[in-house]
């Protein structure tokens, strides 16, 4: 199974690297050009979210991104290691956003973007961290 794993310290600069790697491997895995912007954005959001979780929890451990190229699909998993996860902010409207704490707002906007952009997405909370899994169709090259 052709696979790429990237682990990086929880720093914003590395989110750019993760985006670049995901888009490059996606393209090479046969994800359509029209979807690459979406991959770049969604992967960036998932990674920013994980970096934010680590930073807010004061964790030094790295964030992990796994890219799986399978026949017909390209799958990205971004995992943080924050045990329970900072609870999801209860932001449900634009008006709430304006009142929210900035970190909560970023987290809420990030998840809104991921779920609005990606058809096949799952946020899987676990006792050892949360995994965001996103899958795109890919024609075999």
């Amino acid at each position: 199974m052709p696979t790429v794993h990237l682990r990086f310290s929880a720093l914003p600069a590395h989110v750019r690297t993760a985006r670049l790697v995901a888009a490059t491997v996606a393209r090479r895995s046969g994800v359509g050009d029209d979807l690459l912007d979406e991959v770049r954005l969604a992967v960036g959001e998932a990674c920013s979210r994980a970096v934010g979780q680590h930073t807010r929890s004061g964790l030094n451990e790295p964030v992990t991104m796994r890219l799986l190229t399978e026949p017909g699909r390209f799958c990205v998993e971004v995992a943080d290691v924050v045990p329970i996860g900072v609870p999801l902010p209860g932001i449900t409207s634009a008006a709430d956003l304006l009142d929210a704490d900035p970190d909560d707002m970023d987290e809420s906007l990030g998840l809104a973007l991921i779920s609005g952009l990606v058809d096949d997405v799952a946020v899987i909370p676990g006792i050892d961290g949360t995994v965001v899994r996103m899958t795109w169709a890919a024609t075999a090259l």
Partner: protein, 113 residues
Amino acid sequence: MDLSLTTRDEGDRTVVAVGGEIDVYTAPKLREQLVDLVNAGRYHLIVDMEGVEFLDSTGLGVLVGGLKRVRAHEGSLRLVCTQERILKIFRITGLTKVFPIHDTVSEALTAVG
């Protein structure tokens, strides 16, 4: 690509032209710029997004933060954007309801309300 910022005053309004990528890495620079403007008494901001190549949630968050700041002074924050892929990001997050979005800077300069 990195972020580029250019500001110019037009009467009581200030146009901030943004170029490049507004993301988790560069958004702090944009935040700083908006805070500086508000601290300098500029409460009517127009952010020209036509040169933006990439925008993520952190960038959106900075724009919302800017809006909160100018509103505290009865100000306004208008966006100029015609790029479909950027508009899509505002639509998905419901922010088209929060920001007035214009097609051109001159439209934004003359807009009221």
